[in-house]
Subunit: 313 residues, 2 copies
């Protein structure tokens, strides 16, 4: 049950089962990962919007791979998320063409979050006066190499995990991932200080991270896609004042999600005098998309939930 | 600010703006509605599975319409949900061809819930030994007549509301609906004692209901589809022991939802020795579908959340 550490000094930017493992561990070992933010250090305080708009991405910077001795295709790798820490700042942004509403925004926009002061503020980060977000960090990308040879984009999540962006994979959760190659070849990155279910503008509160994970091989399990357990409420801080929610009804869940988010942006602009860009970012970091019903065809219902607790505190 | 009452003795089964209102009220008035369950009284204790399989539906039985004086197309009707009570029993069932997994189940199945004993049991209803569900009643159908003439099915929800099946529209919530015809012509029905986000097997805990609503005309608002506020946690009883969750990643949110529910049914069958039919029903009344991310194309992530609190209590 050794403790290991992997720095963010040597990163990889795709899923490829031919990448040489940086670390070999036994089942039961713990690894402390340093992770680089999704922009690979490009977005930081002082960056101008002109500079932001020139950013190119070669993929999420990933820390790894870790070879888990004994892991064979068909096995299941269990991750115990022991702790997730963020850096002192984070960012949320979008460029035209990305996110859930690619055609609604014609200009790039980003926001820098002060995460350092949140530590003396009950772990809430200020978006602007009277709007604060509770932080609950997790890694957007946790996954393993694919069986297929070659380099695969880090953008879509797959059966082996990857860019799942599931905000409940925070400290205390246990994640199960199916192993496709010998040793599993686990990598991690894309730490988020906070995110809503949906991550609608395409980024969360993006930040560098330090993540401690215990790895256990589970040969008693067989799964086709990731599964997980949470042990604590993700919403206790958010639920206490209730929610405002928009809804949309459509045969297409994607379109219903778009409409519900559009209505929410209108609500935020009208009620709190945000710009549409600020509202889109706020939706991405704190609004949750729920499938309210998926059985009353031809129209299914998607609801977007905005926690009242973020206002006026 | 008068108090009115509408029995469930005279029901209608479609949306049609030519149906004569049963009641005219002023903005600010309160109405206590009796509602008939979705099966129109057909499913009840003692029903055999053979009888259940012969059930035909002419639509949700709806109590109404209520004409709200002064309501004009373009106005917004606000509903304050003051109280929702259920009957002493409820049912959950499905027949082949319905629900999120129409091809996975070849036989009809239903379950009768004892809701009477839940009142002396902290408001939890027993599914079977060691599995109990907290009740949180709401009406699946709340809506108004459409501008278009003719009779419309009660099954799909629309811009004016209807069969939204949003489980957070419980006691304490405020709902906004857009008015399309003079007087609004509000009707209500389809009380659910409990439901998960998704209602995946096509029914929740279906029951007769008594629902008290205050109606307010809101001319300061303009909305295209329903919106609402909640004032209390929907999950406080469920969140306390965390969740088990399955995930699926696909370009198609509907397919990802199907897969996540299939994995959950497998988990329930393997872990708790339920039949697949029992597991499907349990998913419908207590599992929540979340859109974890909708921006990492080509694969979007749907997660199905099962609350651990329902077991062993």
């Amino acid at each position: 049950m050794a403790n290991h550490q992997l720095s963010a000094e040597e990163l990889h930017y795709c899923w490829d089962n031919s990448i040489t493992p940086r670390l070999e561990i036994e089942s039961g070992d713990t690894v402390l990962f340093e992770t680089q933010d999704a922009s690979d250090g490009f977005v930081k305080p002082g960056l101008t919007i002109e500079e932001y708009s020139t950013r190119t991405s070669k993929g999420h910077p990933l820390t790894g791979p870790v070879f888990i001795k004994g892991a064979k295709p068909g096995d299941v790798l269990e991750l115990e998320i022991l702790n997730v820490n963020t850096a002192n700042y984070g960012w949320t942004g979008f460029r035209p063409g990305a996110g859930l509403l690619p055609k609604d925004f014609s200009k790039p926009f980003f926001h820098i979050w002060d995460l350092k002061n949140s530590r003396t503020n009950g772990n809430w980060a200020e978006f602007m006066e009277n709007i604060k977000i509770p932080l609950d960090p997790f890694c957007g990308v946790m996954g393993m190499a694919l069986q297929e040879p070659g380099a695969f984009s880090t953008t879509p999540p797959r059966a082996v995990g990857g860019n799942m962006d599931i905000r409940q994979l925070h400290t205390g959760s246990k994640v199960l991932l199916p192993v496709q190659v010998e040793g599993g070849l686990f990598s991690i990155g894309d730490c988020h200080a906070a995110q809503g279910d949906g991550e609608v503008c395409v980024t969360a509160i993006e930040t560098n991270g330090e993540v401690s994970i215990r790895f256990n091989l589970r040969r008693d399990k067989s799964i086709k896609e990731p599964q997980f357990w949470t042990t604590r409420s993700v919403n206790s801080q958010l639920e206490q004042k209730g929610y405002f929610a928009t809804t949309s009804h459509s045969p297409d869940l994607f379109f219903a999600s778009q409409q519900a988010v559009r209505y929410m942006i209108e609500h935020l602009v009208d009620t709190y005098r945000l710009t549409a860009e600020q509202a889109y970012i706020l939706c991405s970091v704190v609004v949750d998309l729920k499938i309210s019903q998926i059985v009353d065809g031809p129209n299914y219902t998607v609801s977007a939930f905005l926690p009242n607790a973020i206002f006026g505190n």
